[in-house]
Amino acid sequence: MDVGRRLLLKGGAALAVLAALPRALLAAAWPEKAFASTEADAAMSALFGTTEATPSDRITLKVPEIAENGAVVPVTVSTTLENVESISLVVENNPRPLAASFEIPAGTLPDVSSRIKMGETSDVIAVVKTDAGIFSTSKQVKVTIGGCGG
């Protein structure tokens, strides 16, 4: 009786995994190599096939000048560039610089907000991929870890 119930539970768990699989497979692939990169340039080339990004004043990157808590740094990226395909956030001095990458399907506005972690003071780079190329803008965020005045 007990064994049967255990088996049933296990079967249920396996089914749940199976049910979750197709969705994971259908979704675009998570860019594992880019996220594993330990250098900003390596992350860029894994993601875009190039480390070259054209500086653009049509990208607005909103970050605090000073982040008292590196564990929660609010970031907003928006752009007036057209036909945006993705927006990515690179924190140059983080152990793994690529923090997040957002895929923007047609109809979705190129305007995203999140909160990221920063290990130390660093340039934060917003990289925008459009059908015309790769564009970027960056801003430095000073991090005073744990509010010790670092």
């Binding site: 979704a27 929660v72 793994r96 690529l98 979705t108 999140s114």
Partner: protein, 104 residues
């Protein structure tokens, strides 16, 4: 299990402004347990997907550098009252969470 995703959707015209909050530890894998000194394994959301009436409107790929209990906001056009917005994430252990809401 009840979803631990929170979402606010605001319609203005045909643009929906989405603000979402997820409950997740977002462990980097480089932290040590302060009591045992053992490394805490990485545990983080890898992909967050939004669909509106089955159309994918956003795929957000996360690393461990997204803050604990992630916040994510964005907007999309072509939305109207009555649309079904689905939000789902999957983490590096294969765990998932999902929420469905109707735009109004």
């Amino acid at each position: 299990m009840a979803s631990k995703i929170k979402v606010k959707a605001k319609l203005s015209g045909d643009v929906a402004e989405i603000k979402s909050l997820m409950l997740h530890p977002m462990e980097t894998g480089s932290r040590k347990d302060p009591d045992t000194g053992e490394p805490v394994p990485a545990h983080y959301i890898t992909q967050l997907t939004f669909t509106n009436n089955e159309k994918t409107v956003m795929v957000a790929n996360f690393s461990t550098a997204v803050s604990k209990n992630p916040y994510f906001g964005f907007s999309f056009s072509g939305a109207k009252a009555g649309d079904t917005l689905k939000i789902g994430w999957v983490d590096n252990t294969g765990a998932t969470d999902e929420l469905e809401t109707v735009l109004k």
